[in-house]
């Protein structure tokens, strides 16, 4: 029977703290970059003009139909060959995860905007608003409310995806656990600790999406 010994993990709490900081940093970068670029792509997917529609569609299809890990590794090992500068693990992982999240959130934005009643557009145009004004003042505020549960789910996915950055040795929680496990020979405790940390962080967020979904279903 295995003797659980978390002392070796607690002794290395500062190593985990550095990892947690790394996880939070890449999460914040990808959340902001992914969801805002996703809006741009989503508007492109919604556009009736081919110059916007086709590139946006190609982008969404490509990034949704390839694995994130392949994208991260491509940005880390392949892209620098085309570039005159080297790419840090943080930059490569952020690029992969952000672009992937942009592709997925673009479809959420598009569906949200499409779900708004045609009459809202007509009303806004009748008041003399331009397309962009109508979008910003009338359509998006209503659509965003409907998209909140789906976007929160995306945020949770981004948080989980951040562990993939460890594959290219970016210092985050899982990478630090690997380090601790190899130094102290305690993979059981180290990886269990990481799993528990993620669960504790994300479980409240998941419960929040359930509440949001229920509230939305009630309101509509």
């Amino acid at each position: 029977m295995h003797q659980w010994d978390f002392a070796s993990v607690l002794d290395n709490a500062d190593v985990f703290a550095v990892g947690a900081l790394g996880t939070l940093r890449i999460f914040a970068i990808c959340l902001v970059a992914g969801l805002s670029f996703g809006l741009v792509v989503g508007l492109g997917r919604y556009s009736q003009r081919r110059v916007f529609y086709w590139p946006a569609t190609a982008f969404v299809e490509f990034f949704r139909n390839t694995p994130v890990l392949v994208q991260i590794i491509w940005f880390y090992f392949a892209l620098p060959i085309l570039m005159p500068f080297s790419i840090s693990p943080l930059a490569a992982a952020s690029l992969g995860i952000s672009l992937n999240s942009a592709a997925f959130s673009a479809e959420i934005y598009r569906a949200g905007i499409q779900s708004i009643d045609r009459g809202q557009w007509d009303g806004a145009r009748a008041l003399g608003m331009s397309f962009l004004q109508a979008m910003r003042r009338i359509i998006l505020p209503q659509a965003l409310k409907r998209m909140t549960p789906a976007l929160t789910n995306r945020a949770i996915e981004i948080f989980k995806m951040s562990t993939l950055a460890s594959a290219i040795a970016y210092v985050e929680l899982l990478q630090q656990a690997k380090l601790i496990a190899s130094l102290n020979f305690n993979p059981i405790e180290a990886y269990t600790a990481v799993a528990v940390i993620f669960f504790v962080f994300l479980w409240p967020m998941v419960q929040l999406t359930y509440v949001l979904e229920r509230r939305l279903a009630r309101d509509e």
Binding site: T66, F77, I81, I156, F159
Partner: protein
Amino acid sequence: MAYQWDFTPVFANSELLAQGLLNTLKVTGASLACGLVLGLGFALMRLSRHRLASWPAGFVIEVFRTTPPLVQLFWFFFALPLIAGIEMTPLLAAIVTFSIQSAAFFAEVFRAGIVSVERGQWDGARAIGMTNGQALRRIVLPQAIKRMIPAFMERAIELMKTTTLVATIAYADLLFAANEIAQKTFRPLETFTVAALIYFVVITAISLLARQLERRLAVSGESTVH
């Protein structure tokens, strides 16, 4: 100076890539089969009125949905063999992890599908003397499964993309094969581009098939779950 693209070293190793793709499909197929069966089990347990069944199932589902799959894989590969005192190969660890992980997601699909079947269908089945199990198998599941197919296909595609994680524990899937070729030929740009394209083609083909299936279901008026 512009970079000179040269795909010949990659094509010279196409056999390795083909073997990698085969291994990717193997992990995906095995995890999908186990995940579906396990997922139905979890869903039935979670829907059960007995807390002894519904709480453990709920706990497993929540844990596997809210922790990163890569952490789960590392746990099953590095930690479990020490606790259980068993030998773990990368393939076995991958199948165990992705089966349970996708089962947790499939369970929610099954549950939503079963709940979506009208209460009256249960009552009717009971009224003609069926037991709970019979009503589930003969009346409710056949109707529910048809509605769940779009969600299933989406999860299956997600699963295939998730299997790339096994490359990190040195199982020779497509990504791992690409990595090996890139190191051997010093052509990472061409190799990883080809690997990404292979994934893109295979996954796009599967999702087009899924869309076709959904359209057919929509015609027969059964596609209520989007």
